[in-house]
């Protein structure tokens, strides 16, 4: 049987896995029967928990649990889980492995090749970390797809003969992307992408948490790390409530004391004013780059859970003077589109007449220097060769001269970014080119950069007078890790044992009772304690029918308590 075609949305908050079959994408459920798997990892003894159980353990076992690690992709930040220290790509690889296990169980087939979505505004380092995470989970990332582009593919597939110019506004848990596209005759053409890799729903939660701290009367900065963490979790829940109603009574527990706060939507919006300001920048960039006016758009599409906030919809409506759409569930669009991209890569027959062209979200260029009249040399200037939002694949060339008389070498330092100073951009690589001796500026080189949609960047420098060449290939693909290294890291990660799948429903249920116990007060606490004992008793009894009946009965009570307390 053919390999299944798989797309994965590896989100800051939630991850999903999707298969493309019979000409359409289909989301796969996890062991709990849910489509969304929270991107949270927790260590329980020597077993790894991923998903809802881990999310509940953020309250009860904050020291063994890590969340929102996608923000640290491509950095050396480590997360402490119990006695283990893990990097963001290692934690991501555990989430990927969980998705893989669940999907294999659902499909009855093994999975190897996948397409994974990344924020359009992820740079090369962050992309490489994502690919390494796949490798460590035993997956082969054949392609990365930009999240808003994926969402657009999902929408495009709904309306294949459509013809429109539209914008995808993707505000997820940790990242923000805007993309302007045009769809015509089966072509999905990305015109421009921009974003902020560090702006998402989590920042809105944090802003609300700070406002809540002020209401309680303890400034945010004075709170202990643990208390900040708990308050952030509670703010996240309050935030969701405020999407549905104008005010919300939050009952929360902080440092052992119970507080009741009335939060209004207006308070929340005021606390987020600075974040809203930051949303405008990428939008403006996109439109200046395409030379379009907001009036030229036919549709505005919202993607990502955080776009459920009314203030976001209002901001979008005001800016674009259009009613934003979310006909596909904003949590699902990216995963569906990732599967469509996987089908495109696999050249699935159902998509014969569909073509997608994307752009490079960043400029790529080299470092240059200038000599002032008094002879001092100032270096560190960035000279873009492929400008951002160039359709891919692209190949561009520029020429550069020597700076000193009888200079014998030119250093080609490749950077990705938009800042005029290279020090503010991302360094991709470096090499040297020999040039013949000559007067300053009389010798030089052509530098050609070729950038293809799979993320491969090829740089070639040619000496102008003698035609000598030197070059470098920078890959998105498993690049800087050798096969042996990948095998080693895969093995290391496999030392982590996943919690058994059969047990997962019960584990998640127990984690939920414990979390509520932590939050609740008075009689509710007694009730929860009783439930905990009763349920643990049933687990001892090992009668599956009895256990499942009890989960159903108690679930309703838990829902009620969950509604009452913010947590």
């Amino acid at each position: 049987m053919a390999q299944p075609i798989i797309g994965i949305d590896l989100g800051t908050t939630n991850s999903l896995i999707c298969v493309f079959e019979d000409g359409a994408p289909r989301l796969l459920t996890n062991a709990l029967g849910h489509l969304l798997t929270p991107s949270v990892v927790s260590l329980d003894g020597d077993k790894v928990l991923v998903g809802e159980a881990a999310r509940d353990r953020q309250t009860t076992h904050p020291k063994d649990t890590a969340a929102a690690f996608k923000r640290a992709m491509g950095t050396d930040t480590t997360f402490q889980l119990g006695r283990k220290k893990l990097r963001a790509e290692e934690l991501s690889s555990l989430v990927l492995r969980k998705l893989k296990d669940d999907a294999e169980a659902a499909l009855g087939q093994t999975i190897r090749d996948v397409v994974v979505s990344v924020p359009a505004y992820f740079n090369q380092g962050q992309r490489q970390a994502t690919i390494a995470a796949c490798a460590m989970a035993g997956l082969n990332a054949v392609r990365l797809v930009n999240e808003p582009t994926a969402a657009a593919l999902a929408y495009g597939l709904q309306d294949r003969d459509g013809e429109s110019q539209f914008l995808v506004f993707d505000l997820g848990g940790g990242t923000f992307d805007v993309t302007v596209l045009e769809h015509f005759d089966g072509v999905m053409e990305v015109k421009a992408s921009s974003g902020d890799a560090f702006l998402g729903g989590e920042d809105f939660s944090e802003a609300l948490a700070k406002a809540m701290a002020d209401k309680i009367g303890t400034p945010w900065a004075k709170l202990a790390k643990d208390a900040q963490h708990q308050l952030r979790l509670q703010a996240d829940v309050a935030k969701r409530h405020l999407s549905g109603k104008d005010d919300f009574e939050a009952r929360l527990k902080l440092d052992g004391a119970h507080h009741t706060l009335t939060l209004t939507r207006a308070d929340f919006e005021q606390a987020c004013a600075a974040l809203i300001k930051r949303l405008h920048r990428p939008i403006e960039r996109c439109f200046y780059d395409t030379g379009l006016d907001t009036d030229a758009l036919d549709r505005v599409i919202l993607v990502g859970g955080a776009t459920r906030m009314p203030m976001i919809r209002q901001m979008v409506a005001r800016q674009f003077k259009r009613l934003p759409e979310m006909t596909i569930d904003p949590d699902h669009a990216v995963a569906l589109g990732a599967a469509v991209q996987a089908a495109l890569v696999a050249e699935d027959r159902a998509l014969d007449d569909v073509v997608m062209t994307d752009v490079s979200p960043f400029s790529v260029g080299i470092e240059t220097a200038t000599k002032l009249k008094n002879g001092t040399v100032i270096g560190g200037f960035f000279q873009p060769i492929i400008e951002r939002n160039t359709p891919l694949p692209a190949s561009r060339q520029d020429s550069f001269g020597t700076m000193d008389d009888n200079q014998t070498q030119l250093r080609v330092d490749i950077y990705q970014g938009e800042a005029p100073k290279v020090s503010d951009n991302v360094h991709l690589g470096q090499f040297l080119l020999d040039v013949p001796k000559g007067k300053a500026g009389h010798e030089g080189m052509f530098v050609r950069i070729t950038y293809d949609p799979s993320g491969l960047i090829e740089v070639e420098a040619t000496s102008i007078t003698d035609g000598k060449k030197a070059g470098l290939v920078i890959r998105d693909n498993v690049s800087n890790l050798t096969e042996a290294e990948i095998a080693k890291r895969l093995k290391q990660m496999q030392a982590f044992k996943m919690h058994p799948r059969e047990d997962e429903e019960n584990t998640a249920f127990l984690a939920r009772i414990r979390r509520l116990y932590e939050m609740a007060s008075g009689d509710d606490r007694h009730l929860l304690q009783g439930m905990l004992m009763e349920f643990e008793g049933a687990l001892e009894g090992q009668d599956p029918a009895e256990i499942s009946r009890m989960r159903g009965d108690m679930g309703e009570t838990l829902d009620r308590i969950d509604d009452y307390y913010v947590s």
């Binding site: 005759d185 005001r318 938009e418």
Partner: protein, 392 residues
Amino acid sequence: MSPKWPWSELGLAKRATEREVKRAYAARLKQIDRNDPAAFGALRDAFAAAKNGALKEKAAPKRPRMADIAEGRTGQDDAAPITLREPQRAPDPLPEAPIEHTPAAEPAQPQPPQTDDAGHQPFVEELFADTPEPPKAPAPKPAQPWGVGIGQLDALAQEDPDRAQSIFQTKFNDALRSMHWDTKALDALLSLDMAHDLTLRRSLEAQLYDTLQTRLNDPETGYPVDMARVIETHFQWATDGVGASKRLGWRRDYQLLMYGHARSVPQSSKPRIATRAKDKQSYVWHKISVFAVLFLLTISIQEMKGADDYIVVSVALAVLFMFVRWLTMLGAAIIVKLASLLRLNRPAIRLAHWAFPATTAKLTTSLEFRKLGIFALTAVVMVALYLIDKYA
């Protein structure tokens, strides 16, 4: 005869409409090797050129814009806007008659918003529910045209866009040209909803650039770090050089403006574009140097004998207040101190001038009254001290 580029590249026989160009491009795109940058690049170039030179299609009906809906225009046909009531009102026969603002004399009442086939009407109510509705009849304008706060401009823009525009522009000009760099007002203005209109914003950026350039004829001075922060928040000259140089075009010197006020900083250190940590550091240095200068001055005052000493000290104090750069201050103070130790009081100023030309030149050319004020105040205090010293 074979057709010319770019039409040939797209497989078109002759110049075509944009719709045909797109269809041809889509067809070609599905044939070529899309992973080959050369083939793809050639097709893209032809596509861009052909779109530019495409035959004009019959203008497609335009979707009504928010503003149009509110004004009762639909944009279905730009040439013939919906005729409003009283299309041709006779000119006022009696110019000297008192003009009354009766609703009937106003041009027209907004018609109920029109709904187009795409059903764009509902959202107007739903999403703009919290913004004040345009009044049925325009309210009489307040007599004081500038009695509108920045915070009220967005609301005003819903009622009377033209007036809001003009007030906005006036306030923006004031903030830009204010003596003390009114960065707060600039930030507030640029954060308004109405300032997020893309065309307006672009023009504001250009205005900002031009004003900065005329104000900074001496790039040694620079502007407050706060200003850099506002520019960065709204236009990202520092982090988005690629975009800024595209938008500003020939105004290429924006980098100089951005980095200008840190020009005397050694090459290795980063320009002072105001990240908080860096500010703090320079703030600490500032404090240290102020203390150092004051310390030196105290010693000088104890040793002071004649009028020259007081002049020297007042110059040093003025220098202290006028220039934030700690190195300059420290340098000037040390020179003054050395000079006074060596009893070279008169030449001290000349010496300072020689060592710090920009500093002392500014002393005479600066137009900033605040600085001159401080200078004058210092001088008065010093003269008073001198007089007390002499006659007490």
